[in-house]
C-alpha cells in the first residue's frame, strides 16, 4: 500500500472515530451503524464468496448464531466481550461442522445446500423462540448509542483488516489459486479443502461477531430475524456490486446500499431492493468487477489518454 493510501485510510478511520462526538443526531449514528454492519457482513461474505468463488447462500446462519449466542450470554450476565467472542466461535463451530460435507458438493449444490441449511435454522429458531427478545428495563434506562457505534466500527475494522492480511498472505494466494483452478492447485500441493475451510471459518467468525454486535445494539427483536435470508442476499449483492474479490468492493457496496435504501425509503417500499436487484444482474452479466472494476477501467482509460498527450502519469 502506498503512503497516500495509508494516509487516506487513517483519515477515514479518524473521521469515523470522531463521528459520534461531533454529530449528536441519533438517526445519523444509526445510519452509520447500519453501514458498518453491512460493511462487516458483506466483507465477511466476500472472504469466502469473493475470494474462493464458493457462493455461500447461508451466510445469515452465522450472523444469526452470533446474535443468538451473544444475546443469550450477555443477558444472562456475561460481560460483553466474552459474549461476543462466544458468538463468533459458535459460528466458526458451525462452519467447521458443515464445511467438510458442504465442500464435497459440486457446482451449484454448495450454494443451495448452504441456503437449505440456513433456512432450516431460520424456520427452527422461528418456531422454538417465537417470543421477542427485549432488553430489560434497567438496561434500557442506561442504553447509550455511542458504545454500540464503536463496537460496530471495531468489528468492521477488524473484519476488513483481517481480510486484507489474509488475502495478502500465502494463505490468501492459496485460496485464490483454489478459486481459479482447483485441480491444478491440488496438484501443486495446495489443499483445497483446508483453504476453503479456512476462508469459511474466517467468514463465519466475522459474521458471528457482527451478529453479536447486533445483539448488543438492538433493543428488541425476534430471534428469528437475524437468520433471515435477506441478510445473506443483501450482503452478497453488496459484494458483487462493489466488486467481489477486492477489499474495497464490499465496503463500497455496503455504503451504496444503505444510502440507496435511505433515499428510496420515502418512496414506495422495497424499491431499493428492485433497483439493487437490477444492478446486481447488470454486474453479473456485463460488469464483473463491480464498481471497483469500472473504476479501474476508467483509471486505465485516463492513464492511456494522459500518455498519449505526452504528460507524465503517476500511478
Amino acid at each position: 500500500m502506498s503512503g497516500k493510501q495509508i494516509i487516506f485510510i487513517a483519515l477515514v478511520i479518524a473521521i469515523l472515530a470522531f463521528l459520534p462526538v461531533v454529530i449528536k443526531k441519533d438517526n445519523i449514528i444509526n445510519l452509520a451503524v447500519y453501514v458498518l454492519l453491512f460493511v462487516s457482513l458483506a466483507s465477511s461474505w466476500n472472504i469466502l464468496g469473493g475470494y474462493t468463488g464458493q457462493t455461500n447462500l447461508g451466510h445469515a446462519a452465522f450472523f444469526g448464531l452470533g446474535t443468538l449466542a451473544t444475546r443469550f450470554l450477555w443477558m444472562a450476565g456475561w460481560p460483553l466481550f466474552p459474549s461476543l467472542l462466544a458468538g463468533g466461535f459458535l459460528a466458526v463451530a458451525l462452519a467447521l461442522l458443515i464445511g467438510i460435507p458442504a465442500f464435497r458438493l459440486r457446482g451449484v449444490y454448495f450454494a443451495i445446500g448452504t441456503l437449505a441449511l440456513s433456512q432450516i435454522l431460520y424456520i427452527t429458531i422461528g418456531n422454538t423462540l417465537p417470543m421477542i427478545s427485549s432488553l430489560p428495563a434497567q438496561d434500557l434506562a442506561v442504553y447509550q448509542l455511542a458504545p454500540r457505534y464503536y463496537l460496530f466500527l471495531g468489528v468492521a475494522l477488524l473484519t476488513i483488516g483481517t481480510a486484507y492480511v489474509l488475502v495478502n498472505s500465502r494463505l490468501g494466494l492459496g485460496i485464490m489459486a483454489v478459486r481459479e483452478e482447483e485441480d491444478a492447485a491440488e496438484s501443486l500441493g495446495v489443499s483445497a479443502l483446508k483453504h476453503k475451510l479456512l476462508a469459511l471459518s474466517a467468514s463465519a467468525f466475522f459474521a458471528g461477531l457482527t451478529g453479536g454486535a447486533f445483539a448488543f445494539y438492538h433493543v428488541g427483536y425476534y430471534p428469528q430475524l437475524t437468520f433471515g435470508p435477506e441478510w445473506t442476499f443483501d450482503s452478497m449483492m453488496m459484494a458483487y456490486i462493489g466488486g467481489t474479490g477486492t477489499i474495497v468492493g464490499p465496503i463500497i457496496g455496503a455504503v451504496f446500499f444503505v444510502i440507496l435504501r435511505e433515499l428510496l425509503v420515502l418512496k414506495l417500499a422495497e424499491l431499493h431492493l428492485i433497483v439493487f436487484g437490477v444492478l446486481f444482474i447488470l454486474v453479473v452479466l456485463f460488469l464483473p468487477g463491480g464498481i471497483v472494476g469500472i473504476w479501474a477501467k476508467i483509471l486505465k482509460v485516463l492513464a492511456r489518454r494522459s500518455k498519449l498527450k505526452g504528460a507524465r502519469v503517476s500511478p
Binding site: 468463488g53 457462493t55 447462500l57 460435507p101 464435497r104 458438493l105 457446482g107 451449484v108 449444490y109 450454494a111 443451495i112 445446500g113 441456503l115 437449505a116 441449511l117 433456512q119 432450516i120 424456520i123 427452527t124 418456531n127 435470508p229 442476499f233 449483492m237 458483487y240 414506495l268 417500499a269 422495497e270 424499491l271 431492493l273 428492485i274 439493487f276 436487484g277 437490477v278 446486481f280 444482474i281 453479473v284 452479466l285
Partner: protein
C-alpha cells in the same frame, strides 16, 4: 385411529402432486441447459397471480384460465431467457453455472418485490362456488378442487412425457440432455432447444402456481419456498427421470404431512430441507435417478 392418518396421507399426496409438477419444470430446464433457475418459484407465483386476477377481475374460472396462465408464462419465460439467461449459455461450464445461479437469484428478488409492490403482501386465494365441495369416500375427505388439481398435474406430466417420447422436438430435447455436441451434429439447434426447455419449465411452474392459487393460497413471498421445494423434489427424484421426480413430489408431500401430524406443524417446512441435505450428502443421484446428473 387409522382414519386421521389416512386423511393425512391423502392431503400429502394431493399437495405432493403439485410439488412434483413444479419440480418437473425445474428439472426439465436443469437437465437440458444445466443451469438451475432459482427464480422458478417466482414464475410459479406469477402463474398463481395470473389465475387469481383473471378470476378476481373477470370471474374467469381458474381451471378454464389455465391455458391463459400457460401462455402468460411462456411469454415471460421467453422474455427473461432472451434478456438474461440466453446470454450465458456460451460461457464455460463453471462460469455458466455460477452466473445463471446469481442472475436467477437477482431475478427472483426483483420479481418478488415487484409482486409485493403491485399486489401487496396479502395472501390470496381463489374461492369459487365449488371450492368447498368435498367427496367423502370411506370416511376420507377429498376436496374436489385439490383432486382436480392433482388430475391436471398428472395430465400435464403425461402430456410432457408423450411430447418427449413421441415428437421429433421432444427427442431432440432428450438428445441435448445426453450429449449436446452430438445433438448439434444431427442438425439440432441447441439455442432453440435451450429456449424451448426454459419456457416449458416456466409454463409448468405457471400451471402449478395456478393450481396452488385455487386449491391453497398464494402470496408474493412464496417463491423461495417453492423453489426450495422443487429443488428438494428434484434431488429426491433424481435427475433425468420425470416419473421419478413426480413420485419424489408425492414423497415430499406425504413426508411433510406426516411430520406435521406426528411431530408438529412447525417442523413441516423443515423436514423437506433436512431430507434434501441428507440426500445431497449420502445419495446425490436421488432415490430414482440415473447416475448422470
Amino acid at each position: 385411529m387409522l382414519e386421521p392418518m389416512v386423511q393425512n396421507l391423502v392431503y400429502g399426496i394431493l399437495v405432493g402432486a403439485l410439488y412434483g409438477l413444479a419440480a418437473v419444470g425445474l428439472s426439465l430446464v436443469f437437465g437440458v441447459t444445466k443451469f438451475l433457475n432459482v427464480s422458478h418459484g417466482e414464475f410459479l407465483m406469477f402463474g398463481g397471480y395470473a389465475s387469481f386476477w383473471l378470476f378476481a377481475l373477470w370471474r374467469v374460472d381458474p381451471f378454464l384460465s389455465l391455458p391463459l396462465a400457460i401462455v402468460f408464462l411462456l411469454v415471460i419465460g421467453a422474455v427473461f431467457y432472451k434478456l438474461l439467461f440466453g446470454r450465458m449459455v456460451k460461457l464455460a461450464e463453471g462460469a455458466k453455472i455460477q452466473n445463471t445461479l446469481l442472475v436467477g437469484f437477482g431475478l427472483s428478488l426483483i420479481l418478488q418485490n415487484m409482486a409485493l409492490r403491485l399486489w401487496t403482501a396479502d395472501t390470496r386465494s381463489i374461492t369459487t362456488f365449488y371450492s368447498g365441495a368435498v367427496w367423502t369416500i370411506l370416511g376420507v375427505r377429498l376436496p374436489i378442487v385439490r383432486v382436480a388439481s392433482m388430475g391436471i398435474a398428472l395430465v400435464v406430466i403425461v402430456a410432457l412425457q408423450l411430447f418427449l417420447r413421441r415428437t421429433y422436438t421432444g427427442k431432440a430435447l432428450r438428445a441435448t440432455v445426453e450429449n449436446w455436441e452430438a445433438a448439434t451434429l444431427m442438425g439440432i439447434d441447441i439455442q432453440r432447444v435451450y429456449l424451448l426447455s426454459f419456457v416449458m419449465g416456466a409454463a409448468l411452474a405457471g400451471v402449478a402456481g395456478a393450481l396452488v392459487s385455487v386449491g391453497y393460497s398464494i402470496d408474493p413471498t412464496m417463491g423461495m419456498s417453492w423453489t426450495l421445494k422443487s429443488l428438494v423434489v428434484m434431488v429426491l427424484g433424481g435427475l433425468g427421470s420425470i416419473t421419478g421426480t413426480f413420485i419424489g413430489g408425492l414423497v415430499l408431500g406425504v413426508t411433510e404431512s406426516a411430520t406435521g401430524y406426528f411431530l408438529s406443524l412447525t417442523y413441516k417446512e423443515v423436514v423437506g430441507l433436512v431430507l434434501f441435505l441428507l440426500v445431497l450428502i449420502f445419495r446425490p443421484q436421488g432415490l430414482f435417478g440415473t447416475k448422470e446428473g
